[in-house]
């Protein structure tokens, strides 16, 4: 194996910082037994983290959103591996994130408007950390992704509740605004959701997948009514059922433990979703909000790969380097089509622009298809 520049200490890296004394600013905040507590002040343009050097162990971040946009807070390890996150912090609210941080170099990020790379800051965690054995790296991948799924399902439930309430209140503009946001959380964990084959078509089935004797329900049924006739006066029962189905899938997804191989295949499956459904505009044929889904699929794929990253760095460092490069390439191609806090509509993109997106997804999906074998070795 050639060594690569990616052998930087990841969260599980073997950089023993024994002997490094904790700095004073941090000591003031150490409550024995409760670990580190950190205050985060988030606005639409600032992400103020009051402590940036911690001791290894449990850390608690209290995130206050004093901006006007809904915010998110993340703690990332190398390659944007999510160590912990809180989603959906409404303006004026505070939320807490408790996370176990081994020694290493991290980044904090606020995401006002819940989009983009966010406002980043460095976070250093010192202490001793043993090198993680290969199999332990895979076990950790499962746990890490589990945290991600849990955070996404919580937000999915909240946003679906809001969406359903707007539909039942007959508030068409509000329902239209919430629709792509609620679906973002769904699309990020789509492979997990799809593993529950009975629920998936009810929640996310497109009109053509509905079989004889089955009713067309779920997100896309309401999408059709919102964007074609604008009449959602009869959609109350459909909305109620959507919420019940989402509640059930959230409970099931939270209990699900994915194997590393399933993670790897999920990362690929998410890109296949993009390539076959979102690039073509088939998924959101009435609302044309396909780029929201595209971005969410991409984020979900990246989260799965990030969870596997420590294992992949041990097993296939060149592949990790290639994936980093290609993820950046897709993000750059997609980033051109931002529109405020959201995305341009599929119908606003030219054929050449769609082809560029398609090419970038193909370039990423080929190396992603090799992750499973690296994990299975």
């Amino acid at each position: 194996m050639r060594t690569t520049r990616f052998l930087v200490p990841a969260a599980v890296g073997a950089l023993a910082l024994t002997g490094v004394t904790a700095c004073g600013a941090k000591d003031d905040r150490q409550d024995a037994g409760t670990g580190n507590t950190v205050k985060v002040k988030a606005t639409d343009s600032v992400c103020e983290v009051d402590v940036t050097e911690l001791d290894a162990g449990q850390a608690t971040f209290t995130v206050t959103n004093s901006g006007s946009k809904v915010n998110e807070f993340y703690v990332y390890a190398a390659g944007d591996r999510v160590m912990g996150e809180v989603e959906n912090i409404a303006p004026g609210l505070s939320r807490e994130l408790r996370v176990e941080l081994p020694a290493g170099t991290y980044e904090t990020a606020c995401k006002p408007g819940m989009s983009g790379r966010g406002i980043r800051g460095a976070l250093k965690v010192s202490g001793t950390a043993a090198t993680v054995a290969p199999d332990a790296a895979l076990t950790e991948a499962t746990a890490s992704y589990q945290r991600y799924v849990t955070s996404q399902t919580a937000a999915l439930l909240t946003k679906t509740e809001e969406f359903v309430a707007a539909v039942k209140a007959g508030d068409v503009p509000k329902a239209k605004a919430l629709y792509p946001v609620a679906r973002t959380y769904w699309e990020r964990i789509e492979p997990v959701a799809e593993s529950f084959g009975d629920l998936d078509p009810k929640i996310d089935g497109r009109e053509e997948v509905v079989e004889e004797g089955m009713e067309f329900t779920g997100f896309h049924r309401i999408e059709k009514d919102l964007w074609t006739t604008g009449d959602i006066s009869k959609d109350g029962p459909i909305a109620d059922r959507l919420l019940a189905d989402v509640k059930e899938i959230v409970a099931r997804a939270n209990a699900e433990k994915l194997t590393p191989l399933q993670l790897a295949n999920g990362a690929k499956a998410l890109l296949d979703e993009v390539a076959s459904g979102k690039i073509t505009g088939e998924e959101e044929r009435y609302s044309h909000t396909d780029l929201w889904d595209f971005n969410a699929n991409l984020e979900g794929s990246k989260a799965a790969v990030a969870a596997l990253r420590p294992a992949l760095e041990q097993r296939a460092p060149e592949l990790v380097a290639q994936l980093d490069k290609e993820f950046a390439n897709v993000e750059a191609a997609l980033g051109k089509h931002r529109d405020g806090d959201g995305w341009k509509l599929h119908t606003q993109l030219s054929k050449a622009e769609l082809k560029e997106l398609s090419d970038s997804i193909n370039a990423l999906a080929e190396p992603i298809s090799k992750v499973a074998a690296a994990v299975a070795r």
């Binding site: 080929e366 298809s369 074998a373 299975a376």
Partner: protein
């Protein structure tokens, strides 16, 4: 057959697993140098060498690229790519991988070193598999470089080779009546796959496109059937979709002197890296089939300048008789009309310029108006398009009475480098070194 492969695969499993990871498509430069035999299964249990004739293999290595003077095969899958990376090293690594894969596939082997079966069950196979069990089928793969590789549409020199663009690769002029669609014209690179089995040709292009993901993107492609030219005296002259023999006066592999003069670029032509290469012009020519079919036999023959049955020039007896352009009929008019296709395209009217034509018929389904979407995918190789294709086509575009039934909808011009000498050589090495 598949049983044989999978047994071989099982025996190799341990080795393959390691290879699967270390060679896992991470653009391993130097793969080109890996002997194709190492770990590669032949598609037919290592018996590719047993095939000959139409099922046999055409040697990949040589002074010139195969697929030019090679006796024209029955089927074509042609593809033009755009390069989507700005990274010269990645492009070079891909060309090396392409060359290694092409050497394997033309020899009847899988595209990758592991193969369509027998690798790790969790990994996608490095060959797509649809050619398992099929013989080499005289597959040739011929690569070419378009002008936009040297300087892109914005004038950028992406790969530091703008100064190496051959003068002969000058953009074709607009010809009278051209109705070119930009999205199916041009391209930074092209690959011509010809084989006697369409599945083998498609398989080759599909696997090269896959290897190229992230480096190149398919710009357009064309399937063709029923070669419309003979490139060897051993071959009968085939017919195009107008029902006429096409390519009677073609350059042939046996005309060594003419090939030197008309087909291959010379070292003193001004572009050293092209010595032994050739320039390819592609034109997709839609035929107005339905209106042609309603025209009388005599009109058809006058337009072409040959008889429909034997292919003999009007006024002569046999296909290979020289046309007599001076001959007059009882009405005092030339027997071969002044606006006939044969007369306007003939070397005597074009300062002796000849072409090695290698075109194919195509039918792309129908056009929704009840008409076949069909015609000729014209391909011609030559030493210098400025002195060959351009003057000939200028004449034809202005005066050919056949134009009423034709529409040129796509155009391409590519510099096809000399042959790949051996396993250490690769497509475009002289250009990029």
């Amino acid at each position: 057959m598949s049983e044989q492969s999978s047994t071989a695969g099982r025996g190799r499993r341990r080795l393959s697993r390691r290879r699967a990871i270390t060679l896992a498509g991470v653009g391993v430069a130097g793969v080109a140098g890996v002997a194709a035999g190492a770990g590669a299964l032949t598609r037919d249990g290592d018996r590719a060498a047993a095939y000959d004739g139409a099922a046999g293999a055409v040697p990949f290595h040589g002074e010139h690229q195969a697929g030019i003077t090679t006796p024209a095969q029955d089927r074509l899958h042609f593809v033009a790519f755009d390069v989507i990376t700005k990274d010269r090293d990645r492009l070079v690594a891909m060309l090396q991988e392409w060359t290694a894969a092409a050497a394997r596939m033309t020899g009847g082997k899988d595209a990758g070193v592991i193969g369509a079966v027998g690798g790790m069950p969790e990994a996608p196979p490095d060959d797509t598999g649809e050619a398992l069990g099929l013989p080499p089928s005289q597959l040739t793969l011929t690569v070419g470089f378009g002008a936009t590789l040297f300087r892109d549409a914005q004038g950028g020199d992406r790969f530091g080779i703008a100064a190496r663009r051959p003068a002969a690769l000058a953009d074709l002029p607009h010809f009278a009546g051209d109705a070119l669609r930009p999205e199916i014209s041009g391209g930074d690179l092209c690959v011509q796959a010809c084989a006697n089995d369409p599945q083998v040709a498609v398989h080759a292009i599909r696997n090269l496109a896959r290897i190229g993901m992230g480096v190149v993107s398919v710009r357009w492609s064309q399937l063709g059937f029923g070669r419309t030219s003979s490139t060897s005296r051993d071959q009968a002259t085939p017919r195009n979709l107008f029902g006429f023999k096409d390519g009677t006066a073609n350059l042939k592999a046996e005309d060594a002197g003419l090939l030197r003069e008309q087909l291959w670029a010379h070292p003193d032509d001004g572009t050293d890296w092209m010595a032994g290469g050739s320039y390819l012009v592609t034109r997709k020519i839609r035929m107005q089939i339905e209106t042609w079919d309603r025209s009388s036999l005599v009109e058809q023959e006058q337009i072409v300048g040959r008889t429909k049955g034997s292919g003999a020039p009007l006024g002569r007896r046999d296909e290979f008789d020289e046309p007599d352009f001076a001959a007059k009929g009882d009405d005092g008019q030339p027997v071969i009309a002044v606006d006939s296709h044969v007369r306007l395209a003939h070397p005597t009217l074009n300062n002796g310029a000849r072409l090695l034509r290698r075109g194919y018929n195509y039918v792309d389904g129908s056009d929704g108006l009840g008409r076949l979407d069909a015609g000729l995918f014209f391909m011609a190789y030559q030493r210098d398009p400025r002195r060959q294709f351009v003057p000939i086509q200028t004449q034809l575009a202005r005066n050919d009475s056949m134009n009423e039934y034709l529409r040129h909808v796509s155009s391409g011009l590519f510099a096809c480098p000399p042959g790949v000498r051996d396993a250490a050589d690769w497509w475009g090495r002289a250009l990029f070194s």
